[in-house]
Each structure stands twice: as C-alpha cells, then as structure tokens.
Symmetry: C2
Subunit: 445 residues, 2 copies
C-alpha cells in the first residue's frame, strides 16, 4: 500500500532491515492463567494532596492481597505504581506526578503496571482544574512510551461519585489480563457496580458472540466461558463446522445465522427469549474486510463491509434495547472497532468508515443504554496475530507488529480479556468507552 | 530516544536507510502568496440527499470565483472535491461517499483538496444519524492517507444553525494556506461570523504574539501583519535584539517581557489598554523544551516547562477574560499545543504534559470565551522545519519528517496560516478546536 511507512518497509532496504536491524527483542508478555493472583509483586501507591480515591483503592488492593507500599523501599522492584492524581487542581501542582514517579519508574518490574487516576475533565467546572486533569494524558502517554520490559501505563478518569465503581478497572489494569493494553484513557462513571465472584465473574450469565468460529471471536467465546458464562457462538452457516467445534470446546451452543439477514435481530431475540430466558452479554465481533483504494472501490466492496461491520450491529442493538428485549438489567453490549477506524488506513475506506461508525454507535447509545441499566463499549484492536494478519506480506507484517510501545503484536486473547473486563458485573460504571488493544500503537489520530 | 521507531532509525541500518531507501520524493507543497486566488482550478461539488450546506457552499465558491462543477467532466483534474454529507442519516446511506469520490478521486489535481462536510455527532439525538456522521471520520482519514501529490483531506462538522459560519473554514481548507493540514476534523459552531476584507482580514486588529523573536513565533507575527494586524511581538529580554528585528520587519512593536513573571498578566493588560486601546488576537506561542526521561527528570527540568508552556498562558488568559480586560469583542485566544501533547513522546513527559494541558485549557475555556464574544482554539504542530528540529540527529529528523501523509516536514508558515485562520473575523464560529498542522502525521493517540 501507498502510505510512507508501508513504502519504506516494502522497499529493498526496508526488507533487509526487517530481518537484520537492531530492533529490541520484545519482552514476552505475561498473560493471565486461571488461579493467578491479580498482581504478583509489591504495589507502590501515592496520591496528590487532596485526592479522593485512597479508600476505594486500598479496598481493591487489599481484596487482591497486594503487598502495598506507601514509600519506596530501597532496591524494591514494583509490580505496580499507582498514583491518585484526583487532587491536582491546577497545572502548578502537576509536579506531584514527577515527584512520585521519577524516583521509582526505573524500578518497575517486568510487565509492571503504571496507573494514574484522575477526574474526567469534561465534568469539571473550574478551568484550572479541568486543564490540569486533561494534562495528565500527556504524562501517561509519555510514560507508556518510556517504559520497558513489557510494562504498561494507563490513565483512569473516575467521575465524582464513581469512587465505588473503580474496582473492576483497577483489577483489570493491574492484572496480566491487560497485557497488550497500554497508553489508554478509561472513563469510569458514577453508577453502582455489581458484585462478582472473583474466579467466575460471569456465572449464570448468557453471552452471544458473533463471528465466533475462529480468531478473535473464538478467543472471546473461550474467555467468557472461562469466566463462567454460557456462550452462544454465532456465525454464518458456511462456518458451521468450525463454529460447532468452538461451541463444544467452550461448553456453549452454536447458532448459525447471517447477521445481515432482514430477520436476524428478530431471530436472535426469539432465540434468547425461548432457549435461555434472557441474554446478558452481546459481543459484536463479526467483521469482514474488502480492501481497495477509494478510486477502485466498487459498491460490492463497500456495501458488505458496512452492512456486516456496522449496520447489522446497529439493527441488533436497537432490537436489544427495545422494550420487549431479552437483554437483562446489567446487560453488556460490546463492539469491536479498530485502529483503522481511528486513524484511517490505506485501502480500507470501507472498513475504516464502518469501524469509525462502531465508535460513533457506542457514543450514540451510551446514555440510552445506561437508562436501561446496561452498558455499551467497544474494543479497538491494533495489530493482533491472527490468520488474517498472517496473510499480510512479511515486511509489512513485521513493521505493523513492531510499531507500538511493546514492540510486538497482540494475541486474540488480549482482545478477549478486554471484552471480559467490560462484561464483568463490576464494570457497571464503565460505559461509552473505546479501549485500544494495541500495545500503544504509534498510529493514531 | 527509546521508542521502537527511534531505535529503528538510529540503528546502523536505519541510518543507511535514511540516505538510500526508496522513499517517494515528496511533492513540493503549494503555499499561499498574497494575491493568489483561493482556488486555482475547478471544484467538483456534490451532496448527499437531504443535505443542508448547498447554499452557503455555493456562496463561498462564488465569492472566491471558483469554477464549480456539479457533474464530473471527462479528463478534468479537480483542485477541489467537496461533498456535503450532512444529509446522511444512517450507515446504510454512507455509500453516497463512495458514489461521489470513487470515480473522481484519482483526478485530484496536484495539491488538491478533498473536503467532507457533516454535522457534529455529539449534537445529534438520533443514534443512527449520529453513528453515520461519526463514521465519516474513518473515510476522511483514509482518503488523506491515500491521496498523492500534496493533496489533503479534511472533515468539517458544521452545527445546525452554523450554515452561515462555515465560509472562512472552507476558504482556508481550499486554499494553499492549509498546505500542511491534512486528516483533520474541524468543528464550526452556530455563531454569527464577522465580515472581513479578503486581502487584509485583520485590518485595524491588534495582535500579541509571545515567543515572537524567531521560528514559528516570527512567522506568526509576519503572517498576522500580512493580513493587516498591528503585531506586538513579545519575548524575553535576552532575545531583545532578534525581537526588535522581527518587530521592525512586520511594522509592529516589540514588548520585552518574561511571561512567567508574577506581574506579567497585569503588565500585558496595561500595555494594551494604554498603548493600543485594546487587543484582538493573542497567540501563546512561547514554549520551551527540557527533555529527559521520567526517571531522570529533575524538578528544574519539569517546572520551567510547565510554567512557560502552560501556567503563564493560563494566567494571562484569565486576566484577558476578566471584566476589565482590554480584549475586545470578537477577540481571539490561540494556543500552541503539539503532537507530543496528543500522543506522548519519549523524553518529553514535561513537554507532553504541558501541551496536553494546552488542549485541556482550550476545552475548559471555550464556553466562557463564547459568552465574552471571543474564541479560543489551538494549533498542534507536527514536524515543522525550525532551528529546533534542525538540531535533531539526521536519521531521526529524516524519519520524523517523512512519517506523514505528505512525506515531508512542514514550515513555520503552515502553523502561522492556521493561526491566521483562527484570527480571521469570519471564524467566529470556530471555537474550542485543536487543529494539527502535521501533514496527517501517522503518530497519534
């Protein structure tokens, strides 16, 4: 393709480069295995003067049996560095970030976690405080780029009144479940969070995953099943064989259906009303690509991509938010966007438009979902190692894989873990978010 | 520095690459010279069914004497492709983008302009329409990456009721003044726009430019003076000699002042109240860097960067928005952010925090500014060729310069032209924006 970077890596020198250059060997990321503790080393906690999240943070850290330090110990390596910056009310106080992190950031353990907590700027009246809280983003995104050894950095904006809702987010970000999530800004609202069993947070939940026969969809089905959900795996009839295998593997059931069919929403609604007495989690993972540059893009490349990736999802969600829906209170609608939808991508005008639309759809429905007692969020994968990316030419693939702060591609399970975080009953306050699962890709808008 | 790309380009192969690889020769960008027409070739205009910006668009195109086509002529090359997408109310209608652009996008002239107009998604109630309007972004960002020959692509969201305010934005984007602006989303609100003289839009305006003794600041001073403003050039006393030269060159005046001094806001207020009977345009261009990674960043690297780049600007704007301010109705507050403030940057935690703060400051004050009859906006430069970037090692510089859709660095005048666009009396509806001047840099968040 024709963007400067692609040209670079497909040039003669770029190719040789991919094989021989002095790129760092990426750190193998630690990923979650059932039974693992949330955090496996000491966590250093600090707070700006006047911050308000100390108590909920302490409760979460105690609940996960973390060894909490409040002053740095000599020679200690920290699995987590957590700073509550909600007390920072003006830019002249931002130096407290430096005061806390500068002496210890080089002592972050392998696959360590840096978390800064703030207040959503858009909810702040006072201009000086709003400015300072927005400034946190520049610090955290820089920290993500500076950290080495598979460590990540995130900013969590917690609404005033949302102090009791932050638990699931902190757990997720501290844990190995967020291995490939870095440089992200997550917003937690003021809604009361449900309680969940630590090992099986989705017990007795019924989930629907579209495009579940392989790749990321299959991984999402597995991860939700691991967490206790009954997963209904949906895909088109042509994928029936693979679909059955996945459904059997996860102890769920298979539903062969073309989500673009006129009656698809009605059939889904009926299926869950009749067979499961309800539905809790819907993951709109089904997606297709039909790449062409705009000048060569025919209708038959455009229409199916928009229909599968966006319109089908909109129709189904409309049906699920209607009065007669089987979607239960505490329900979760989860979309799959893409970095292409954020940054655009050569040859993918159709795909990027559909994925930008997924982001718009989440934002458009967040308030409505909240009124119904459900949430809607999306993940935006970056470079994930799948059969689809394996088909990309080597040099471009190698480049795509390296162009992020963790210098490697993610795995389908990384997307699945973020979906499971949204699905968690403790994530009631997490609504309207789009979290990139991209290792803090350099690409963006 | 330590991010993957920097490592790549500072490696042995990266260096050789920078000299020898098969990167495209970037197209020399056409830049505005006084007397040039806004657009120097035919403009193809289209609209989705039910769109609402046809009349104001026609008025603008007539006013700039554009040759307007409504159906593509055989073999014509277009200086502008403008599509009014405000009528698109659902994702199933997004194909109209393809219908319009696919047959003609390869006939964009050198340094051509692609513009899509929409409605701000956040102002739309209907979820389907909101989703579709948000989806436009994926299309435009892709188009920006696909276009060749120095052409650019932008999305302009025009509020309902803002039909009369869009003129200055369309002129800017069609013209060579926006040479290095691409892949941007600009919002135009419903405020009535002032009238301006085409050649000297800033006649009788008084402007203040901080950090005006060189580089981008000097270029801003020159550009505002070209447009008719009396420019007060401000810098620290140590830059006095250069400052005087710039002030003389632009027929303005020099003001030696340290903007971080306790009494700086008061002195500025007094200066303009006494010497100029008022002030219209303030450009907060002064900025410094003190790069270190977080682990090595001392207070004396942090504090001055935050103070100069952010706190001084906040204090001055607070004084200028107070009741006794010399800032006149129709006034303009303009900040300078940075891609580092959006994406973070290795070694620049202080700088990125300050620049993210500038973005927060603009967002925090936009409503307040509007109540006072003024606007506040920011530019976020990407790689701009200045003495500062000339000091960057060759390989990194060459990479930084190429990593955007135009495959080259911008010039100080590109930042200055965007500032002049904000300053234009016709830009009353442009408030709370952060426009990147980066050639659609691949880097982002």
């Amino acid at each position: 393709m024709a963007d400067p970077y692609s040209k670079l890596v497909s040039s003669q020198f770029g190719r040789r480069m991919a094989g021989r250059l002095g790129l760092p060997t990426p750190t193998p990321l630690r990923r979650y295995r059932p039974g693992d503790p949330v955090v496996s080393g000491p966590v250093l906690v600090g707070a700006a003067e006047g911050s308000r999240l100390g108590a909920p943070l302490a409760r979460t850290l105690e609940a996960v049996h973390a060894e909490v330090h409040e002053t740095p110990a000599e020679d200690e390596r920290y699995a987590g560095l957590v700073f509550d910056a909600t007390g920072i009310e003006s830019s002249t106080r931002l130096g407290q970030l430096r005061d806390f992190f500068s002496p210890v950031i080089r002592r972050t353990a392998r696959c360590g976690r840096l978390i800064v907590l703030g207040t959503p700027p858009e909810e702040i009246e006072d201009p000086a405080e709003r400015t300072a809280q927005r400034a946190l983003e520049g610090f955290v995104r820089t920290a993500g780029k500076e950290l080495k050894g598979g460590s990540t950095a995130q900013l969590v904006y917690v609404s005033r009144g949302g102090e009791q809702s932050v638990d699931s987010t902190v757990r997720f970000l501290l844990s190995a479940k967020s291995a490939f999530v870095s440089g992200q800004v997550i917003r937690v609202g003021a809604r009361r969070a449900g309680q969940a069993d630590g090992q099986q947070p989705l017990r007795e939940k019924v989930a629907l995953v579209t495009g579940a026969s392989r790749g990321i969809g299959a991984s999402i089905a597995e991860t939700l099943a691991r967490d206790g959900a009954h997963v209904v795996c949906l895909d088109v009839p042509a994928q029936g064989e693979d679909l059955t295998k996945v459904a059997n593997r996860v102890g769920g059931s298979a539903l062969q259906l073309d989500i673009t069919a006129q009656d698809a929403p009605q059939r889904v609604v009926e299926h869950f009303a009749e067979r499961h007495e309800g539905l809790d989690i819907v993951v709109h993972n089904a997606g297709i690509t039909r790449d062409k540059t705009i000048g060569r893009m025919s209708e038959d490349k455009w229409d199916p991509v928009l229909t599968v990736n966006l319109a089908a999802q909109e129709r189904l969600n409309a049906a699920l938010l209607a009065d007669s829906s089987p979607l239960r209170r505490g329900g979760r609608l989860i979309g799959v966007a893409s970095i292409s939808g954020i940054a655009g991508n050569v040859g993918q005008a159709n795909y990027a438009t559909s994925k930008a639309g997924v982001i718009g759809h989440v934002q458009a429905l967040a308030d409505r979902a909240a009124e119904r007692g459900v949430t809607i969020n999306a993940v935006a994968p970056g470079f994930i190692e799948t059969a689809m990316t394996a088909a990309v030419p080597l040099a471009i693939r190698e480049a795509g894989r390296r162009m992020n702060s963790l210098a490697q591609g993610g795995l389908p399970v990384d997307v699945a873990e973020t979906v499971a975080f949204y699905a968690d009953p403790g994530s009631d306050g997490v609504n309207g978010n789009v979290i990139r699962v991209c290792g803090q890709s350099m690409l963006g808008a």
